[in-house]
Every structure is written in structure tokens, then in C-alpha cells.
């Protein structure tokens, strides 16, 4: 049964841990700490215990309940476990401000994170019940309960991000007062949402649930061949010479800089690395990149960002064509990220990031063969994980690879690293669709071992039988281990052969599960795909697939979802926010989610340049949200890729937001736009709350702003201030009536429409932003200035300029 247990101190006792959080906030953010009037921290445990209710209740009582100090909330499991009502309401009663406005921040360990506390709790519960079950699951977390009438969402997010949750290992969500008072969070389906399945012990593999590549009933009885298997593994060479370290600095840099502890240096290194690549990109570099992509798991994708820059066109063209070549030869998907902004001087940036792919894109070649041919199937590579570091081997392997391609000896290559043999074969449908014979003479153990578990490093090659000897010689010469294990055929069957007799067999349709996929109609999809009825545009050349909840920056894993987007810095002057959405894990997608991502990207100052979206079976609802955002913010949303795969009964979307870090004073356009807009002056020192507000650190109504004009500090208003205003009014041939003082300490003129002024002014007051009403925009191109002595001076804008 599913249950959720919340444990907190009784109202008779103080909560030192919650007080500690408050103390820290008070030191860093005094204005926020004033808003938090009361706080409590509760420990939360989500459990699924495979036992009858009475046993579970007994175990919870014995394990969680400290009769003296604690209250335990379990929904309806332990009646009157706390106070009068048995709910959090009892705890809220302790707040000195009643009825009060309560907020909750809940955090929990992410599904793929090792949860030591959960293991101990599971052990405790199982010890008390006197039995163990592999089905039992536990996840731990905490709930921070706060009271504060003036707390707004951004405050809570700030607390959650900075003081409560570690976003790399924990996810968090905000709970409203209604949710806290209700007991719906104790319901089974709510609890189940946060529990990892037993298969997710090490890494999140949520896709396994619905991946069509793992049909329920395998067409071939593979267990039948197990008894036939004997041991033999490919031998590895003992005398592989070591390669020079500097030659491989590219790879080692990639690895070294991806340390979780050095995120900043990761960004820097990657950027410099890429610049280096651009400037010294030659054939050798291309090969290195090719090898790198071969070494990295297939989940990687190549991002190519196009930025107007100062590098010579020739260099850039060469680089881009090389990238194209690499992408083609390694079957790596490429996403183009266009970052074109007028007037921005920037450097070209190329960077690599990865996303978990549903299928190996390498198995979907651009041009599937029309007719079959007979090739010899060869596994080339090692089974030893430690050999991933053997760069010599990789270099030799790549060298044979290139020679084999040049000599037309290689019909196809399937990237096998990290996948089982069965997955590789099933993935290589386009190459193997006409049938295959798998010989297990003498290699049964190898088969047995790798049929279900992953091959660590290598490829499955289809070799032209005419060039067989030549390839074998090349591989042997270079010490690359290989194993021949069958051939492709044209019989339309899959057969397992030993000693010339068939041990197991199936038709190719059964093997690839075509029957089941064809019978599955499109109506079985969760919702009608977005592009089903619309005109299909030309699909993009490279196909990308997105995972449900995680996005990999090799080799560290950063989790991203709708609630927790990540922002990386691909180059020194731009930020890139990434969000992956899937209906498998996320509840829904609203404009607030995207708003949050945009704010995160602009938090360091800057401006959103573009939003790119990729879909896999996109939903109409998602598109509506994006259209709404496009309308409201005026930012162009580009769909860089979309695909429709009816076989995959799930929907994904990946959003990338690119923001340019620019001077704070170019946050918005500088011209005054609309007649009757109100002009305010905000002080402009960087420490001022006004600047923080403009940069998006605080507040939420920045979008209501029509313009922001930077004003230098000046002793004489007739100079800089009037000039700045004149330039701001010139473009639309407008005028303004303003009241100016002689001495001006600098800052910003911002214009706000009459309708929005109340909301914005209120927010300024709440956030302590100083502001002063200066005047209004008028339709006639004259600047009417009143000075401190109420003298009026009227100047023609054109004359001024």
C-alpha cells in the first residue's frame, strides 16, 4: 500500500532546524526574512509497502512516532495522530498570526538519486514487520511550512532554490495553503508519483515502461538457447602502445571539465575548447571529434549555434561543413541554434550537450537500402568497462573504420555501446530487415552475456564478404578485438544456428514486432498529435529524441523538467535555458512554467533572443501555451524539429531559450513607444532594488514595461537627460511633458501604460524600489520641460537633435 508520512515537532516545542534556515535567510536577505513570520520543518516519507494495512500502521507507529516530541501525519492511517484534527492544521494553529497565510515548499530526492535515508527507513520498517520484499519502495524529503501574508511566489522560489533544496539531487514544489490543509497529498496516486520503480535503482529509465523496443512477449524463446552456451570472449591485445596525452586533450578536457563541482569551469572550458576547435579545425580535429562522438554514449547530440561573429567566413564555412560530415558519419543528431542579434558583437560558439534518446539515431540511417545484401556480422570492441579509457584502441578502431569506409568494405555500422545485443539488432532494422543468421558455435557465452546486458564499447559492423579477409587483417594488425557471429540473409527469417542446425528461429516481422506496432492504431495515443491533421512541413534532417526527465551534459547528469529547468552558459555572453517536458512524468504545462524558465534565463541580466522548440508527438495544448507566450512577450518561437511517431505512446517537448547577457541598460528598447504612457525615474546604481527589478531578479511585472532608457548621472539636466529623452522620442516622432530637476543622479527612465501603472507601482512599493513620476508621453514632437521653479520650456525634438 502507498502511504505518506509527515513528522514534525509538536507545538509545545520549537523547531531549531527551521529556525536555522530562517537565521540564514535573515543574514542574506533581511527584507525577505521579515516577510516570513513563522516556520516549521517536517520530514516527509513516501512509501509503498507490500503488506496489509494493519502491519504498515504498526510499523509506522513504531518507526516514526516519538511520543514525546513528534506529531505524525499520515492522512487517515493513524487517526488523531496529531492534535485536534490530525492534520497540518493543528501545527498551523501554533503560528502567532492566525488565521494567517501559509505556504509550503516540499522537496524530495530525485528518482535516480541514491537515497540513503530511504534505505535506512526501509530497513527499519522491514525489520519491524519482520519480512523483506523487493517491491517495497521509499523516498524521503522535507516540507517547509511558512506563514507570511506578504510572501509571493518568487520569494518562495528563492528560498527553495537557495536554502532548502539542492536542485541537482532534489526536486521541489510549492504547496498552497489549500493543499496543505487538504489531505489529498496522502492519496495513493499522489504518493506513487514520487516513488521510483525497482528498476530505477541506479538511473532513471522511465522510458522502459513504454518503449516499443521491448515488447511484452519476445517472438523468439531466447531462454531455449541458454543451455547451449559456453564461454569464449574476444581476446584483447596485451601490447597496445600508449598514445600521447596532448593529442587527446580534446577528450580529456571534455571529461575533466564536466565535473559537477566545477560547473563554472566546465562552461569556460567548453567555450574555449570550441573556439580552439574553430580556429584550428583541420582533418585531425575532425577525426578527433568523430572519435569523441563515438566514445560518448549515443545519447549525445551536437548543438551547432550560429552566431554572427568576427571570425572569417572561410573558417566558419569549413568548420560547418566539417560538422556536417562528422554528424553524418557518426549519425549524431544536430540541432541548429540560431542566435542572430543585430548589433551584438559576439564570437561563434559551438558546444555539445546531450539528451537521452529514445532510439539510437544511428540506427535510422538517412537512406535505408531498398534491397538487401548479404553482409557478415561482426562485433568489434571490448566488453571491459575500464577500456573506455583505452584511447589507443579507439584511435585504432577509428582508423580501421575510416579505411573500411574508404575501401567500401563496411556496409553498415551499428553503435553498440551501452546497449544489449538484442537492442542493437532490433535497432538495426533498416540493415537487418531482410533476415539474418546468427552463428553461436563457440561463442554461446558471449551471446548469453550480452544478449540482455549491455555491450560496453564497440560496434556491430556489417562487412562486405568480398572484403572480409582484408578487414580481418586490418583489425588483427591493429590489435582491435572482433568476433564474427553471423550474416545477414535475404530469407526473411531470423535464425540461431549451431553446427549447421537451427536452434531457434522466427520471422523477421516477429523479431521486429511489426505486427504489434501495426495493429496499434493512432487512436490509442493519449491525445491527438499536434501535427496529425496539419500540413507536414519538411522534417528536419537529423532526428532528435528527448528523454522524459533528464538531460545529460556528459558525463554528469542534470535533471530538467517543467518544474526545474536548467540554465547553462554555452558562451561567455549568452545563457541557454533547457526544459524537457513529457506527459510521462509531468502533470501539465502552463505559461507560468515557461515564464519561470524565461525569468531564470534573464536573471543575470540580458534579453531573450530566441526560443526553440522540438517536439516528438507534440500536443496541441503545449502549442497553445507557446503561442500565448509568443503573443504576450513578442518573442519568436521557432520550431526547429518535430516528429510524429505513433508507435511511441508518449509525448515529448524540449524547449531551449537563448538569452544574451548584455549590459543591464539594454534590457528593453530605448524608445518611448506610446502616447499617454507614464514616465518614471528609477535610481540606477547596481545595488539599487530598481536595477535588480529591471534585471528580473525580483518581481513579475517587468513585462508591463514599454521602455527603459538609461540616464547617466549629470549635474545639468539640460545635457544628458534631455538628449536621452530626445533620442528616445525621435524614432516614433512623439513628444513628452516632463518635470526635471537640475541635478540628476542617473538611473533609468521607464515608461508604463496607464492600465498597468497600478500593478507595477504596487510591486515597486512592495519590493522597496524607489520611483518618481516624471511625466507623460505626448503625441506632438515637442519636449515640454518644467523645472524646479515651475518654469516651462518647450523644445522641438528635431531642433534638439
Amino acid at each position: 500500500m502507498f502511504c505518506r508520512v509527515e513528522t514534525g515537532f509538536k507545538t509545545d516545542f520549537t523547531d531549531p532546524e527551521a529556525e536555522q534556515i530562517l537565521r540564514k535567510i535573515r543574514e542574506i536577505h533581511p527584507s525577505l526574512s521579515e516577510k516570513i513570520r513563522w516556520t516549521r520543518k517536517l520530514k516527509v516519507t513516501w512509501m509503498e509497502i507490500d503488506a496489509p494495512r494493519d502491519k504498515v500502521v504498526h510499523a509506522i507507529q513504531a518507526a516514526f512516532k516519538n511520543r514525546v516530541t513528534d506529531w505524525v501525519f499520515t492522512g487517515d492511517l493513524l487517526p488523531s495522530a496529531a492534535g485536534a484534527t490530525g492534520t497540518l492544521y493543528d501545527l498551523m494553529q501554533e503560528s502567532p498570526f492566525r488565521p494567517g497565510v501559509f505556504h509550503g515548499i516540499e522537496k524530495r530526492k530525485r528518482l535516480s538519486v541514491h537515497d540513503e535515508d530511504a534505505l535506512v527507513i526501509l530497513d527499519a520498517v522491514q525489520t519491524i514487520m519482520g519480512r523483506k520484499s523487493p517491491e517495497d519502495r521509499v523516498v524521503t524529503g522535507e516540507l517547509l511550512l511558512m506563514e507570511g501574508a506578504r510572501l509571493i511566489q518568487s520569494d518562495l522560489e528563492w528560498v527553495a532554490r537557495n536554502w532548502f533544496a539542492r536542485e541537482q539531487t532534489e526536486s521541489w514544489s510549492l504547496l498552497s495553503e489549500e493543499e496543505l490543509k487538504r489531505n489529498s497529498r496522502f492519496q495513493g496516486e499522489q504518493v506513487a508519483k514520487y516513488l521510483a520503480s525497482p528498476q530505477l535503482a541506479v538511473r532513471s529509465k522511465l522510458l522502459q515502461f513504454r518503449s516499443p523496443s521491448r515488447p511484452q512477449d519476445l517472438p523468439i524463446q531466447w531462454s531455449r538457447i541458454n543451455e547451449l552456451l559456453r564461454a569464449r570472449l574476444p581476446d584483447r591485445t596485451a601490447k597496445a602502445p600508449l598514445c600521447q596525452g596532448d593529442e587527446w586533450s580534446f577528450i580529456s578536457d571534455m571529461r575533466f571539465s564536466s565535473s559537477k563541482l566545477q560547473l563554472e569551469s566546465l562552461i569556460q572550458t567548453e567555450f574555449q575548447l570550441c573556439r580552439h576547435q574553430l580556429e584550428h579545425f583541420d582533418q585531425k580535429g575532425e577525426m578527433r571529434l568523430q572519435t569523441l562522438l563515438g566514445v560518448l554514449p549515443e545519447k549525445n547530440r551536437l548543438w551547432r549555434s550560429e552566431i554572427e561573429g568576427e571570425s572569417p567566413l572561410k573558417v566558419r564555412d569549413d568548420f560547418e561543413s566539417a560538422i556536417e560530415r562528422v554528424a553524418e558519419s557518426t549519425n549524431t543528431p544536430v540541432a541548429v541554434m540560431k542566435v542572430l542579434e543585430e548589433g551584438h558583437e559576439s564570437l561563434p560558439a559551438y558546444f555539445w550537450t546531450g539528451s537521452v534518446s529514445l532510439f539510437n539515431p544511428g540506427l535510422l540511417p538517412p537512406n535505408p537500402r531498398e534491397t538487401g545484401s548479404i553482409s557478415e556480422l561482426l562485433f568489434v570492441g571490448y566488453s571491459d568497462q575500464g577500456l573506455l579509457r583505452n584511447l589507443t584502441y579507439l584511435s585504432e578502431l577509428k582508423s580501421v573504420f575510416r579505411h573500411a569506409i574508404q575501401g567500401e568494405a563496411l556496409d553498415f555500422s551499428i553503435h553498440a555501446s551501452g546497449r544489449s545485443l538484442l537492442q542493437c539488432l532490433k535497432g538495426g532494422k533498416s540493415h537487418l530487415q531482410y533476415g539474418m543468421d546468427l552463428q553461436i558455435d563457440g561463442v554461446q557465452e558471449w551471446f548469453k552475456r550480452f544478449f540482455e546486458s549491455g555491450l560496453s564499447l564497440g560496434f556491430i559492423w556489417g562487412i562486405n564478404p568480398d572484403k572480409r579477409e582484408w578487414v580481418f587483417h586490418e583489425l588483427g594488425l591493429r590489435g582491435v578485438p572482433f568476433l564474427s557471429f553471423g550474416t545477414t540473409t535475404l530469407t526473411g527469417d531470423v535464425r540461431i544456428l549451431e553446427g549447421g542446425s537451427v536452434k531457434a528461429g522466427a520471422t523477421i516481422q516477429e523479431f521486429f514486432g511489426l505486427d504489434s506496432s501495426e495493429s496499434r492504431g493512432e487512436e490509442s495515443l493519449l491525445e491527438e498529435p499536434l501535427f496529425l491533421q496539419e500540413d507536414r512541413r519538411q522534417p528536419s534532417r537529423f532526428r532528435n529524441r528527448f528523454a522524459t526527465e533528464e538531460l545529460i551534459l556528459k558525463p554528469e547528469v542534470f535533471h530538467t523538467s517543467v518544474a526545474t529547468p536548467i540554465v547553462i552558459r554555452p558562451s561567455l555572453d549568452s545563457w541557454s535555458g533547457l526544459m524537457v517536458l513529457s506527459d510521462l512524468v509531468d502533470q501539465g504545462f502552463s505559461s507560468e512554467h515557461l515564464d519561470y524558465l524565461l525569468r531564470k534565463c534573464t536573471a543575470m541580466g540580458g534579453q531573450i533572443n530566441s526560443i526553440q522548440v522540438s517536439y516528438l508527438n507534440g500536443l496541441r495544448e503545449w502549442s497553445k501555451v507557446l503561442k500565448k507566450v509568443e503573443r504576450e512577450y513578442g518573442i519568436q518561437v521557432t520550431e526547429i524539429e518535430y516528429a510524429h511517431e505513433p508507435d511511441i505512446q508518449a509525448h515529448w517537448m524540449a524547449i531551449q531559450v537563448v538569452a544574451k547577457v548584455s549590459d543591464i541598460r539594454t534590457v528593453r528598447t530605448e524608445e518611448l513607444k506610446f502616447v499617454q504612457d507614464r514616465i518614471y525615474w528609477l535610481p540606477g546604481d547596481f545595488e539599487q532594488p530598481g536595477t535588480r527589478w529591471l534585471a528580473g531578479f525580483e518581481g513579475r511585472y517587468q513585462t508591463g514595461l514599454h521602455s527603459a532608457v538609461a540616464i547617466e548621472s549629470t549635474a545639468d539636466a539640460s545635457k544628458g537627460v534631455v538628449d536621452a529623452l530626445s533620442f528616445a522620442l525621435k524614432k516614433r516622432k512623439l513628444g513628452a511633458e516632463v518635470r526635471l530637476q537640475h541635478h540628476f543622479p542617473g538611473g533609468f527612465f521607464v515608461s508604463v501604460s496607464e492600465n498597468e501603472r497600478y500593478a507595477i507601482e504596487e510591486e515597486w512599493r512592495v519590493l522597496g524600489v524607489e520611483f518618481e513620476f516624471v511625466g507623460r508621453v505626448t503625441s506632438t514632437p515637442y519636449l515640454v520641460i518644467r523645472n524646479e521653479a515651475d518654469q516651462v520650456e518647450t523644445l522641438s525634438i528635431e531642433d534638439l537633435l
Binding site: 509545545d12 531549531p16 514525546v68 527499519a124 525489520t127 519491524i128
Partner: protein, 246 residues
């Protein structure tokens, strides 16, 4: 001591000070043995075995099981539900029990002293690492016989002794009546040690095992002539040895 009595030092993942206990107990004449939770299961030491083999049981302190579910809670669950040890019965049959730090908390969680008391996190929410002056009360506790004021190191997060607020008067009366409180701090008179009515089971928050030699004290160099003298924690183990000899 002519015939050596055996002492069991029970350790768990995250516990500390086992070696200090071993050194202290061995130096007063015990034959001590450090066993982990897994060892207890392997050797199948149930309550009868425990009573037969061992005269003294030490429940060590430290951050056992990462203090998940509260300090010492998991340790208590293991003893209660996995080993099925009843420490009161062990004491009835002549055994001595000492719980230190979170080991003391484990004893509290096992309701050895009743279910109305516990230790809770201190106000700073930080681990307190300091020396406390402890004053024994009464003379029932075997471990504290004939001892005056002692000074012992404290290293714990949960140091505040609290009584069930719903039954405060009754619980307070029980402490007074049965003389459970056997150790208080010097100045503020906070309870830092409890013993059961038989005086054989003793739990305390400071760590006697870290003060076996005078040089363990912070200011030992102020009295260099005493450098070779045993520390005050040593006297506690000596009392246990004396009791076993009688």
C-alpha cells in the same frame, strides 16, 4: 580482577568510540569484544546468550544510521525487533548496560526508563562539542558509585532532555520518586544522565570513553604532574569492574 568478565561493545554503521570503550574496559579488567549489528545476527546472540556470555553491554554513540528517524532510533529498532533483546531482563539477571550519546537515545527509544522522556535537538541545531561538568545525584547508580563532580566531553546534536508535555507532572514525579535522574549538569542542573531503578542500566549524553587519561582533558597541561593519572571517565568503568567482582 581475578576472573575476567566479558563486556560486549555493540557498534552499528556510524557509531564511534568503540576502541576507546575497549581500551577503557580492558584496562579495568574486562575482556571486551566489539561486535557489529551484523555480527550479532551471525553469532545468533539472543537474550539468553547475551545474559550467559556477557556481564556488561555498551551501546555506543555516534551518528548511528545517520540518525535517520532520530538519533539512536534505528539502533533501538534493531535491538528490539531484530535481536529481541529486553535490556531490563538483562539487568535483572545481573548485567550492566551503559548507553552513551546516541546510545543513550537508543535506550530511551527502547523505553528502558519509561516512555515519557526523550532527548531532542538543541536550540542551535548544531552539534555541540564541549566539556560539561556533571554532578551525580543519589547513590543508586552502580556506574557512578562514590563519585563527585566530574567533567566529561559532550559531542552531540540532541542534548536537550525533554518530558512528555501531556503528562509532565506525572513524569516529573516518576523521575523524583524512582530517582531516575542520576547525572545533572553543574550549573543549570539539566538532566544529562538516567539510570533505571536497579541502578544497572545507565545512559548519559557526555562521553566517558573519551576521558580515560588525564591528557584527554583540554587543559591537562595546566596540571602536568597529573599527566599520567587516569581520567574521570575511567572511574565509571572501574565502578563497573568493582561491581562485577563483588
Amino acid at each position: 580482577m581475578s576472573s575476567k568478565y566479558r563486556a560486549l561493545i555493540l557498534s552499528a554503521p556510524g557509531s564511534r568510540g568503540e576502541r576507546h570503550f575497549e581500551h577503557g574496559l580492558n584496562s579495568v579488567g574486562f575482556d571486551s569484544e566489539i561486535l557489529s549489528v551484523a555480527d550479532i545476527l551471525d553469532y545468533r546472540i539472543d537474550l539468553d546468550q547475551l545474559c550467559l556470555k556477557y556481564k556488561v553491554l555498551i551501546v555506543t554513540g555516534g551518528n548511528t544510521y545517520s540518525s535517520v528517524l532520530g538519533g539512536g532510533k534505528m539502533f533501538a529498532i534493531k535491538m528490539q525487533h531484530l535481536f529481541r533483546w529486553n535490556l531490563l531482563k538483562f539487568a535483572e539477571r545481573g548485567g550492566l548496560v551503559l548507553g552513551v550519546g546516541t546510545g543513550f537515545q537508543a535506550l530511551l527509544h527502547m523505553n528502558v526508563f519509561g516512555d515519557d522522556f526523550t532527548l531532542r535537538i538543541n536550540e542551535s541545531a548544531q552539534t555541540e562539542s564541549r566539556w560539561v561538568k556533571a554532578v551525580p545525584i543519589g547513590n543508586r547508580c552502580i556506574w557512578l558509585k562514590e563519585m563527585g563532580t566530574i567533567e566529561l566531553p559532550l559531542n552531540q546534536k540532541d542534548t536537550e532532555f525533554v518530558i512528555e508535555p501531556g503528562a509532565f507532572v506525572e513524569a516529573k514525579g516518576k523521575i523524583e520518586r524512582l530517582g531516575l535522574a542520576c547525572l545533572k549538569t553543574g550549573e543549570q542542573e539539566k538532566i544529562i544522565g538516567l539510570c533505571d531503578p536497579s541502578g544497572r542500566i545507565f545512559g548519559l549524553t557526555p562521553h566517558p570513553e573519551y576521558f580515560l587519561n588525564w591528557t584527554n582533558a583540554e587543559d591537562w597541561f595546566m596540571n602536568p604532574t597529573r599527566a599520567a593519572a587516569p581520567g574521570q571517565g575511567y572511574a565509571i568503568f572501574e565502578n563497573a569492574a568493582k561491581y562485577c567482582e563483588q
